[in-house]
């Protein structure tokens, strides 16, 4: 289908068309980051960085219109720079100073919360009152927030400031911004290769199939344990859902919304209990200058276990009863 046909087609919903515009915006932000990094002499890895953000941006804009094997090839090209550690950031000359932030606070005070809340509020309004994707709502909310912020302090917040700040954020987060997407791709590959069938055969040998309560307990506890091993609930949810969630819970008619949503937060309970999630549990120990390396985790075990039990009970009561 050509782009023109896509725009004119009545079979494609307005939401889908608007979403494609959102993807073009994301693509342009990535390409801006690519160009800025390419010209940044202080960035030692500017070529790799530019390839990563540039290809990512390109995939966002033209991904839908090119053959999927070409898109797949571009995905491979895109992940090569991060794999070879060739993505980095230059000197952060745009970092806001304490003085600058304080000046902003002097001028705006609590009014800063108006643009801050606009993303969530608009996303919620879109979800409640339209059938248009919440992601379009988020994007509209972002633009409304930007306009409000620009109107409140026109001199300080020009278009270039917003662009540069988003480039800064991209540089700070780096290629890890791709993590959820890559995990979803991995999940799709697992499903296509039949990995889920193998796991469910294995688990089926241990726990009886057809018992929803046992299935839920194994799925939820499995999410927490698997997350503890990997240190990442995102990595756990694809594998556990394909392997255990689908055959032992969903195939018995359980509501996928309830099951999927709570399974993720059961995984988060695992995140609270593992040193593998260093960003949340070990790095703060250093930041707060604590003596006990596991001082943060120790304070999280009780709430995490209570929440795991609570969520299992909630899932059982919503799904089984």
């Amino acid at each position: 289908m050509s782009i023109l046909e896509f725009i004119q087609s009545s079979n494609i919903t307005l939401s889908e068309k608007l979403l494609e515009i959102v993807y073009v915006i994301i693509g342009l932000v990535c390409i801006y980051a690519a160009m800025r990094n390419l010209r940044d002499q202080t960035n030692e890895k500017r070529i790799g960085t530019a390839i990563f953000w540039g290809v990512l941006g390109l995939l966002f804009i033209i991904g839908r219109w090119i053959p999927s094997e070409v898109a797949g090839g571009l995905v491979i090209v895109m992940v090569l720079p991060p794999i070879f550690k060739q993505v980095g950031a230059g000197k952060d000359t745009m970092k806001p100073s304490e003085h600058e932030m304080h000046e902003g606070f002097q001028a705006l005070g609590s009014r800063i919360f108006i643009p801050a809340f606009s993303i969530g509020v608009v996303a919620l309004l879109f979800a409640l009152f339209t059938s248009i994707s919440s992601l379009v709502g988020i994007t509209v909310g972002v633009f409304i927030g930007m306009i409000i912020l620009a109107m409140m302090r026109p001199k300080a917040n020009g278009p270039r400031v917003f662009l540069e700040d988003s480039r800064r954020m991209l540089d700070i987060v780096g290629p890890l911004v791709m993590l959820p997407t890559l995990l979803a791709i991995l999940g799709a590959t697992f499903t296509a290769a039949g990995v889920g069938d193998v796991i469910s055969d294995l688990v089926g040998a241990v726990i009886p199939q057809g018992n929803l309560v046992i299935g839920i307990v194994v799925y939820c506890v499995g999410m927490a344990l698997f997350t503890m091993i990997m240190g990442n609930a995102f990595a756990a949810i694809t594998v556990m859902t394909v392997g255990i969630g689908a055959p032992f819970v969903l195939s018995l008619g359980a509501d996928p919304t309830i099951v999927g949503s709570l399974a993720l937060t059961c995984g988060y309970c695992g995140t609270l209990m593992t040193p593998m999630a260093a960003n949340f549990n070990i790095v703060p120990v250093a930041i707060l200058e604590m003596d006990d390396e596991y001082g943060v985790i120790k304070k999280q075990i009780v709430p995490a276990l209570i929440m795991l039990a609570f969520q299992i009970a909630l899932m059982i009561s919503l799904v089984v009863l």
Binding site: V22, V29, F60, G63, S68, E69, A71, G72, G73, L74, I76, P82, K85, M101, G104, F105, I112, F113, A116, I119, G120, V121, A123, S134, L135, G137, G145, L149, A156, N157, D165, S166, L176, V177, T181, A184, I185, L186, G187, A188, A192, A193, N232, A235, I237, T241, A246, P256, T257, G260, S261, L264, T265, P284, L288, M290, G295, Q300, M307, F310
Partner: protein, 241 residues
């Protein structure tokens, strides 16, 4: 043998556990799984391309970046700080609880103030410590350390369970994508709605637990030789240090 198909999962577990580069681990697992399953290279590239295009929604955070960096520049952290400072006459446990509520609500709107380094250390922790000291307790070194753990713990609990209330958070987009691969359609607002009672219970449980823990530590400190009323000495000692 069918079991060999699980090699991809093994790679993910080992890779994340041994802290290999995450992207390398995931791509390796995908390629190995495809090879074992006998997918031809073109089909593999097609699966890769198709699932990238259909999962573009997970990078919605890039759009959000257009606003968040500039909010920080305009004093968001100072504004949050002045809001927190309106809390008076509470114990450290309660201060942490209020911070939890505050954090959950803002997380639901995808607003963050800088995490442990940017907000907990400079704002929340000093407030909590000052609250117990103002109530006449001299905090032991152990009590200080435990409060740090609790402050970071509240930060994590509230952020994890609050973030999932935001319609369009990456975790829920991943759930949606995983479900859609399996043939189930789920909607983001419903995925978030189920989390409302969970978030309330999470912050309540953590607050009660920390409140009790802090009260126990305060009593312990008082017994250890710093009775109530020794405030002046205690605070002078602290300033001297």
């Amino acid at each position: 043998m069918e079991l060999v198909k699980l090699l991809g999962i093994l790679i993910v577990i080992i890779g994340f556990a041994l802290k290999w580069d995450s992207i390398l681990t995931i791509m390796l697992a995908a390629v190995v799984t495809a090879v074992i399953a006998g997918m031809d290279p073109i089909l593999f590239l097609q699966t890769l391309g198709k699932s990238f295009v259909s999962n573009r929604n997970m990078l919605i955070s890039v759009v959000i970046f257009l606003l968040t960096g500039t909010l920080e520049r305009n004093g968001l952290k100072d504004a949050a700080k002045s809001l927190m400072e309106r809390m008076k006459n509470a114990s450290a446990g309660l201060i942490l609880g209020v911070y939890g509520i505050f954090r959950v609500i803002f997380a639901a709107f995808n607003v963050s103030f800088g995490g442990v380094a940017g907000f907990v250390k400079p704002v929340v922790l000093p407030m909590a410590e000052a609250a117990d000291e103002a109530a006449g307790h001299s905090l032991s070194a152990k009590h200080h350390d435990e409060l740090k753990g609790m402050a970071a713990g509240m930060e994590n609990v509230a952020w994890f369970f609050g973030q999932v209330l935001f319609v369009g958070t990456s975790g829920m987009l991943l759930v949606q994508g995983t479900m859609s691969d399996l043939g189930y359609t789920v909607a983001l607002p419903q995925l978030a709605a189920i989390q409302i009672p969970v978030a309330i219970v999470a912050v309540a449980v953590t607050t009660i637990y920390y409140f009790l823990l802090d009260r126990k530590l305060c009593r312990h400190d008082d017994l250890k030789g710093f009775p109530k009323g020794a405030v002046a000495e205690g605070s002078t000692a602290k300033e001297a240090k």
